[in-house]
Structure formats: structure tokens, C-alpha cells
Subunit: 143 residues, 2 copies
């Protein structure tokens, strides 16, 4: 059980846009060939990133660019842009209300798990696109 492609795809898309800004026109087809998924997936992702105010996309002429600096874009924003804001875990909605465990499980476990989800989001908030660009740069240097 794990999260879908969406967030990693969005991250890679943004990294490519940042990396190739001014060098190549970053169309959905171009980005799709880096990620190796269908261009429609990229367009959908770009739409979500645009709605979140992270990129602007040139309809018609094509290409996307960042609205904010890489140091001002965090994984938390990216995650929020492409994933629904729902609980991390799926707790059975209709437990037995006659059972003392059943009638409290949602509140008790839900509380704990939402704290943990917030921790995860905080971790995401501490990672910026610039961090990743640097890591990639370093990885390229040591080839």
C-alpha cells in the first residue's frame, strides 16, 4: 500500500521546468519523455500545479514555467496540489456503536493518526525544490 505516482511525477515535472528553463520549451510531450508517462498525465498534473499557483502554462503556444522561485516551493505545496486532503488511513466508517471500542475507535485512533499526518506534512514543508535541484546537480557532478 502506497501513495500513487502523482506526487513524484509532479516533483519531476517541476524539476524539469526549473532545470530546462530557457533551454528547451517544456511542453507536455517533452516533460512526458523525461518522466516516461503519457503526455495527458503531465497535462493533468500541470493543471493541478497551475491551480495551486506553482506554475503557469502557455495554452496554445505551449510550455510551462515556475511562478515562484525553487527555494520557495516546498514538497508540502506540491503534495497538497496533487493529492486530496484526506486522512492518511481509512478507518472503518460504521463500527459497532454498541461496542465500547467500536464507538470510540474513530476519534481515538483518528486523533493520533492526524497528528502523524501533520508531522509528515511538516517534513514535506522542510524540503524545497531547490534542495532537490542541488542534489541532482551534485549527483551529476560525481558521475
Amino acid at each position: 500500500m502506497q501513495f500513487s505516482f502523482r506526487m513524484p511525477v509532479a516533483v519531476q515535472v517541476l524539476l524539469c521546468i526549473a532545470k530546462f528553463d530557457g533551454v528547451f520549451k517544456t511542453t507536455s510531450t517533452f516533460l512526458a519523455s523525461s518522466v516516461n508517462v503519457n503526455p495527458v498525465i503531465i497535462r493533468k498534473t500541470l493543471g493541478q500545479l497551475k491551480a495551486a499557483g506553482l506554475v503557469e502554462v502557455a495554452a496554445g503556444v505551449g510550455g510551462a514555467k515556475l511562478v515562484k522561485e525553487p527555494c520557495d516551493i516546498t514538497l508540502k505545496e506540491i503534495f497538497g496540489a496533487v493529492e486530496d486532503d484526506e486522512d492518511l488511513f481509512h478507518i472503518q466508517e460504521h463500527p459497532n456503536p454498541q461496542c465500547p471500542v467500536g464507538r470510540n475507535i474513530h476519534k481515538v485512533l483518528g486523533d493520533k493518526l492526524s497528528v502523524i499526518k501533520n508531522h509528515m506534512l511538516e517534513d514535506f514543508a522542510n524540503i524545497t525544490l531547490e534542495d532537490l535541484l542541488e542534489d541532482i546537480h551534485n549527483a551529476e557532478q560525481s558521475r
Copy 2:
């Protein structure tokens, strides 16, 4: 996108076993009526918890009991018992190796995300079954 029922179900099963120890025989049918899922799901879950050394199940006569004290059972163990040990996120396996982003994304993003997953597991390790039993007890008191 979220994790499946499995972990919350396992938690509820363990809580019921602890709560009703010596009062009711905790058969799969009994547990299933608290969680409100099919008894077969409970048996499968109990099998995983047994394999993880958290419970023992009386085949034939029926019923389950804890092998360890509630204060010694953490969410991390429960999570590990019912979920595969895989990455939190699914990073595209075949990005374009000709792209500097594509050929490094797995390492760069994977590293960051595995740190975050470990944080999550640490959070899980700090929550015991006893904590949850207490929370339920308190919730019941204030009804």
C-alpha cells in the same frame, strides 16, 4: 489516496482482545461484529498478527489473546504486521536515463522520502496499545 483498512482494523481487533479478555471469547465472529467487517477479514488479520508474534489464536476452540502487554505493543509493530515494507511513494521506475532529472530522480527524491517514512514509523513506535486503551476509557467516562 490513502492506506487501506488493514492497520485500523488490526488496531481495533487488538483493542477488543485486550478490552474483553476474560469477559467474552474473542472469536473472529465476535471481533467482526465490533469492526463491522466480514469474519474472514478478521481471521486474515489475526493470522498476520500471530505471525508477528503479537497474539496467539486458539484454533479449534476459538478465541485470541495478546502475547505481550498492551504497553509493549506499538503501532509500529502493528503497522509492520499488516503492511508490506515498501516505499511510501511510488516513483516511476523507468524515467528517461538521458534526462539529468530522470536519471537522478529515484535516488534524490527516494532518499528524502525514505527519511520521512522513517519519521512516520518513529511516530508509530511512540504510540502503544495501552495509550489507546486509556483514551477509550476516558472517552467512555465522559459520556
